[in-house]
């Protein structure tokens, strides 16, 4: 009898507990507008006060997959037709603060905004130039955000970027996330910086942050595909403190990536010697900054090692001697890229490569004498760059395919 009573009590408890999550914080998935990408801009205000207002735009996941594509209930297959058009909804709102603008953007939607799945935060150039502190602080503070969110800056308006459509994946957010996570740094065109890295560098007293650069292009290759706007992540945005001050071009971006080090990469370096041409394909880069202080003078040394292969040659007999020559010339090319990055960062007065950070970490006493003018001493310091490019493979064939002339 007692046991039966216990079983009954247990049953009652289970039934009761199934109602527990529904008290105050009940959230049904049908009531959520799941935001996948967020764009933040500063735009001229519509009211006559002449003040700029925040403009927040969001890609919101469409709850049901479009039914007309006839893919049944398999959501992933409904990319037919307009290459994923209609998979995500786009909203835009303005307001005096970010949260006011966020409320404004969802004013027509019966659902509540949910930011837990934001995979990319895109900041427009104007907002970035005025400073991202407010955006980043909100992001770190508001509970729904995660630190895995990628930070990207676009020349122009972030809203334009959100208007783009995915080409490969079924949503734009997935495409951007995929590019940032495992593509852009491995082909040497940009760097995936998530908010953890970005905020950390912003908070640290000794380094300036960078963020990926994203912009819209019109794909030209196939006129039958109706995507008129697609995104490209290429280059890096340079910040001085929390303010955007400039951009790195292709060469400088590569120099930055070399400085960070990269694994399982495929970055081609062209080596030209008169008529002879070869491609040195970098597979792995390791890099180290050394800070030395001798008699009050600060010296930095960047040591780079790259491992790669040579598969593509023109008019070169692939011999050990030739490879040594290629190694030498590739080293010089990589070195010039790193030097270009250093020059550009000095021009912009933003220590993005972390020289002073290294000084802080290894030469503590010198760092403590620097104070708030640390950027000046870094600009004046001597920086040496050593690059050791190694060829470890030359493909599946031997010396050269003997092709008759």
């Amino acid at each position: 009898m007692n046991q039966r009573l216990r079983a009954l009590a247990l049953l009652l408890l289970i039934i009761c507990s199934s109602f527990i999550p529904g008290c105050w914080s009940r959230k049904e998935i049908e009531d959520l507008a799941i935001v996948t990408l967020l764009g933040v801009d500063k735009v001229a205000g519509q009211n006559n006060q002449g003040q700029d207002v925040w403009q927040v735009s969001a890609k919101v996941l469409q709850p049901q997959p479009a039914t007309q594509s006839g893919g049944g209930n398999n959501g992933a297959t409904s990319t037919g037709g307009g290459a994923g058009v209609g998979q995500a909804l786009l909203f835009k709102g303005t307001g005096a603060t970010l949260q006011e603008a966020t409320r404004d953007l969802m004013i027509r939607s019966p659902r509540f905004i949910f930011l837990g799945y934001v995979s990319g935060l895109i900041v427009g150039e104007k907002a970035a130039r005025e400073g991202v502190a407010q955006i980043v602080d909100l992001q770190a503070r508001f509970r729904q955000f995660r630190l895995r969110t990628y930070i990207l800056v676009t020349p122009g308006e972030a809203f334009d970027v959100l208007q783009a459509h995915p080409e490969v994946d079924d949503t734009l957010a997935k495409e951007i996330q995929g590019l940032e996570e495992n593509k852009v740094d491995r082909i040497g065109i940009s760097c995936g910086i998530d908010s953890n890295q970005f905020i950390q560098t912003l908070l640290s007293p000794d380094r300036d942050p960078v963020a990926g650069e994203i912009y819209v292009v019109k794909p030209q290759e196939d006129p039958t595909v109706a995507v008129d706007k697609a995104v490209v992540i290429k280059g890096l945005a340079v910040f001085h403190g929390d303010k955007l001050v400039g951009w790195l071009n292709k060469k400088e971006t590569f120099g930055y990536i070399v400085n960070c080090g990269v694994n399982s990469a495929m970055i081609p370096i062209t080596v030209i010697d008169g008529d002879k041409v070869a491609t040195y394909l970098i597979g792995k880069v390791e890099s180290k900054i050394e800070a030395k202080v001798t008699g009050g003078e600060i010296n930095y040394r960047v040591k780079v090692k790259t491992w790669g292969e040579v598969d593509e040659v023109k008019d070169i007999q692939v011999t050990p001697e030739a490879l040594a020559k290629i190694e030498q010339m590739a080293s010089a090319t990589v070195r010039s890229c790193v030097l270009a990055t250093i020059d550009k960062s000095r021009q912009l007065n933003a220590d993005i490569l972390g020289f002073t950070q290294q000084l802080h970490r290894t030469e503590l006493t010198t760092w403590q004498t620097l104070g708030p003018t640390w950027r000046d001493s870094w600009r004046e310091a001597d920086i040496e760059v050593e690059v050791d490019a190694r060829v470890i493979q030359s493909g599946k064939t031997g010396r050269e395919l003997m092709i008759k002339k």
């Binding site: 105050w24 914080s25 770190a140 509970r143 995660r146 630190l147 895995r148 905020i199 950390q200 908070l203």
Partner: protein
């Protein structure tokens, strides 16, 4: 017993302490959790254990009267009861704060407080053995979650973030040590539990092992937070370890572990709160001469709910209290008082022996 104390200390420590320590000791915070707190806690353990060996069948509430006389003894034991009450009010509030800040902002704080107190009160009603069994069950799950957090964030660690070691000298580390020390010192609950343990002779050794284990775990967790988020962000986040759990991303497949981990932390906090609840009831009953501690359950439960729900207006007040006021207060009860009682007890006992 060792398992119980391990869960009791770590359940709330992993939530709040890494941030507080990193604010003070920055990249050396993992040293701040490693060295000094362990030494302090070992001293606490030694004093508590010695006292327990002098009076193997008595709790602190009983032997303090023997040591210090009726009036002073009752005062000391009474203040311990209050200390445990404050400790548990903080635990309940931390629990509620953790849930409202991160997951359920709409739910009123008293709802979480009352639910936890209800569960903890029931466990306290069932007695210390039930609580210990609970701890045995929770411990492996709890450890597993911490292990997952540490292992799965290895790809995101950069050891350079821990440099330079000892910036600003040893002083920041010492300053940062007191908060973890006050947490490790919570093993002082032993003063009320020693008589109910089967083999009190082994307690010293076992608790020492638990202490070392919790130091290693906690240092590993702090180390992970620093290596992933760097010293500055770790100090600015309220719950760095929770943030770690949500940061985990293995091949875009294993991610968003927050809820899984929260479940086990909540159960750890239930164990902690139950034990403290039990200790409060036992102490206050023995001080006021009530034979059965169960009579004190309901009034102290009310104190808990009211105290935890209404003493603090917001999270920052709680953090400030934990940082500025709780630490010295805790160290007085955890370290100073046992260290004072120990020599007094030794002298008293020797006198009694010579007078016989």
């Amino acid at each position: 017993m060792a398992a119980l104390l391990y869960v009791v200390v770590l359940a709330t420590a992993v939530l709040f302490v890494p941030a507080i320590t990193a604010q003070k000791a920055y990249q050396s915070a993992w040293l701040a959790t490693l060295v000094l707190p362990t030494i302090i806690a070992s001293v606490v353990l030694l004093a508590v254990w010695k006292l327990g060996m002098y009076f193997p069948d008595k709790t602190l509430a009983e032997y303090s009267e023997v040591i210090l006389g009726k009036l002073l003894g009752k005062a000391v034991a009474g203040s311990y009861a209050l200390f445990f009450l404050v400790m548990n009010i903080l635990v309940v509030r931390e629990f509620a704060e953790f849930l409202t800040v991160n997951f359920m902002p709409e739910t009123p704080i008293w709802a979480f407080c009352s639910l936890l107190v209800l569960v903890a009160g029931y466990a306290a009603y069932k007695g210390v053995e039930v609580i210990a069994r609970m701890a045995q069950f929770i411990l492996p799950l709890f450890l597993l979650t911490l292990l997952i957090v540490v292992l799965f964030t290895i790809p995101d660690m950069q050891l350079g973030r821990l440099q330079p070691l000892l910036e600003g000298g040893v002083l920041p580390i010492i300053q940062g040590s007191f908060v973890p020390a006050s947490w490790y010192g919570e093993i002082v609950v032993l003063v009320m539990l020693l008589p109910s343990i089967n083999k009190p002779q082994e307690v010293g050794k076992k608790v020492l092992i638990a202490l070392l284990a919790m130091t290693i775990t906690f240092t590993a967790v702090t180390f992970t937070a620093l290596a992933v988020f760097g010293p500055y962000l770790t100090g600015d986040l309220l719950f760095p370890v929770l943030e770690l759990a949500s940061y985990v991303n293995i091949a875009r497949f294993i991610q968003r572990l927050t809820i899984l981990i929260m479940t086990f932390w909540v159960s750890g906090i239930v164990v902690k709160s139950s034990l403290t609840f039990y200790v409060i009831c036992l102490t206050s009953a023995q001080v006021s001469g009530i034979k059965n501690y169960k009579y004190v359950l309901v009034p102290s439960a009310l104190c808990h709910i009211l105290g935890s729900a209404f003493l603090f207006a917001n999270t920052l007040q709680l953090m400030e209290f934990l940082d500025k006021y709780w630490t010295p207060m805790a160290l007085v009860f955890e370290l100073v008082l046992p260290l004072l009682l120990w020599p007094v007890a030794a002298i008293r006992l020797r006198k009694r022996r010579t007078s016989k």
